[in-house]
Amino acid sequence: MKPRIIVIGSSAGGLQALKIIFSLFKNDFSIPIIVVQHISPHSDNYITTYLDKICKIKVKEANEKEIIEDGTIYFAPPNFHLLLEENFTFSLSTEERVNFARPSIDVLFETAAFAYGNNVVGIILTGANFDGAAGLKTIKKYGGTTIVQDPKTAEVDTMPSSAIRESKVDHILSLEEIAKLLISLNKE
């Protein structure tokens, strides 16, 4: 079954990891991807501008109440949590930091699980903290598919390792293997 939504959480070393995955996609990649990359609350839009330039599919910052479209990668804006609604739109929140992070991976992953259940693929990549582990567990509990970057291949292995400890994940893969799996899911 082709998943309806892919959510990705990344932190330290994330930009490089995301770049490796996304640059392997051709323009026929249609499943919408939502990313929380930990960033400074004061940062500008350099990540989305940069990735949009080098990727074959559209990369942009998620807007409040924006309708999620196929073939697009959305990033959480700095200093806001990003939540997924059931009607394929986004909500933003300024609530307190979760795991010291805003945006927090757990917030995105939990709301993805609540709204899309077994139609979600959740992915944890490189990072130096524990955000995302609880969220990935929730995705699994709601019947979704979970993937973690093989800690041995991660620039910083804390985040993938803690996700693997927290729940039984479906796939532990290198970045290239993650891209390959997503491309095959996109063809289902």
């Binding site: 807007n63 409040e64 109440k65 804006p77 806001f80 939540l83 997924l84 609604e85 059931e86 909500s91 933003l92 929140s93 300024t94 609530e95 307190e96 917030v107 939990e110 709301t111 609540f114 709204a115 259940g117 077994n118 699994k140 509990k141 709601y142 019947g143």
Partner: protein, 283 residues
């Protein structure tokens, strides 16, 4: 733990709707048109923290225990803010809107959803520095009485001062931020003269009507918690509350562009979300 099947998930959605209905019927607080993802996440967290096995079980407690309801109310309302949050907005406001306000003999301002008051006092500091504070009447409202009380006090943790000072400087502050507070133990106590022309009051944007007719309405990072219909309703309320030619300031990620009332406003600054109500509206 077993995976939740589709049927269970559908049941949870029904329970969420019933709980919100129960809260509205019993206590008059209306969260039925809040962002569903936000409310559902808050409910499920409260359920697991307070060790209920179902939302329905928790609903019984909400209906019969007012103290527990107060806890839920706290869960639902977001009260995270800071002084001069989004400094670029305050800088723009100072540069582009203040010169126009200076031409008015008397200025009424409504800060809706003021939470614990940090942003109201930020505005008060700018008005003072620009020499028009004494001509201003500021209404600061929120639906949550606990935060209104905190806002009235104007006392913030001292460890926030570093961030406030950084923001103040970025926002074009002309003095030293330390001129505006007294440090005492672990607190920064804001100067009482900042409060002179501020009236703090209880007002619920969802269920209450027009509060005042104002020259400037500030409502930042409140609409993001509402669904589209409720956003439209509240923006209609704003439209009725702002005098023709008056200003509306929203949060940095909130836009009027997709609202039903967009044609009633001119966009003054698209990035900082500053709008002006049209003088003469022709359809």
């Amino acid at each position: 733990m077993n995976n939740l099947d589709i049927k269970n998930q559908a049941t949870i959605n029904i329970e969420v709707i019933l709980l919100l209905e129960a809260i509205f019927q019993k206590y008059g607080y209306d969260f039925r048109d809040y962002s569903k993802a936000h409310i559902k996440r808050r409910i499920l967290h409260r359920m697991s923290t307070s060790r209920f096995s179902t939302i329905s079980e928790m609903q019984h407690k909400v209906l019969n225990d007012e103290a527990f309801f107060e806890q839920i109310l706290k869960d639902f309302s977001i009260n995270v803010t800071e002084m001069f949050r989004d400094p670029s907005f305050y800088l723009k406001f100072r540069e582009d809107i203040i010169p126009i306000l200076k031409t008015y003999p008397f200025i009424k301002i409504w800060h809706a959803g003021c939470s614990t008051g940090e942003e109201v006092y930020s505005m008060a500091i700018i008005l003072k520095e620009e020499g028009i504070y004494d001509r201003c009447q500021i209404y600061a409202t929120d639906f949550n009485q606990v935060v209104i009380q905190k806002a009235k006090e104007g006392i913030y943790p001292i460890n926030k001062v570093k961030e406030f000072t950084y923001n103040y400087q970025k926002a074009g502050g002309i003095n030293s931020f330390s001129d505006y507070y007294t440090a005492k133990y672990e607190s920064a106590i804001l100067n009482t003269d900042l409060k002179k022309n501020i009236v703090f009051a209880d007002h619920n944007l969802v269920t209450d009507k027009v509060f005042a007719e104002v020259h400037l309405l500030v409502c930042r990072n409140v609409l993001i918690y509402f669904n589209k219909q409720l956003q439209d309703k509240v923006i209609r309320l704003f439209n009725e509350s702002i005098i023709p030619g008056g200003y509306l300031c929203l949060g940095s990620k909130e836009s009027l562009r997709f609202s039903d009332s967009f044609h009633h406003f001119d966009t003054i600054d698209d990035d900082e979300k500053i709008y002006k109500r049209k003088l003469h509206f022709k359809r």
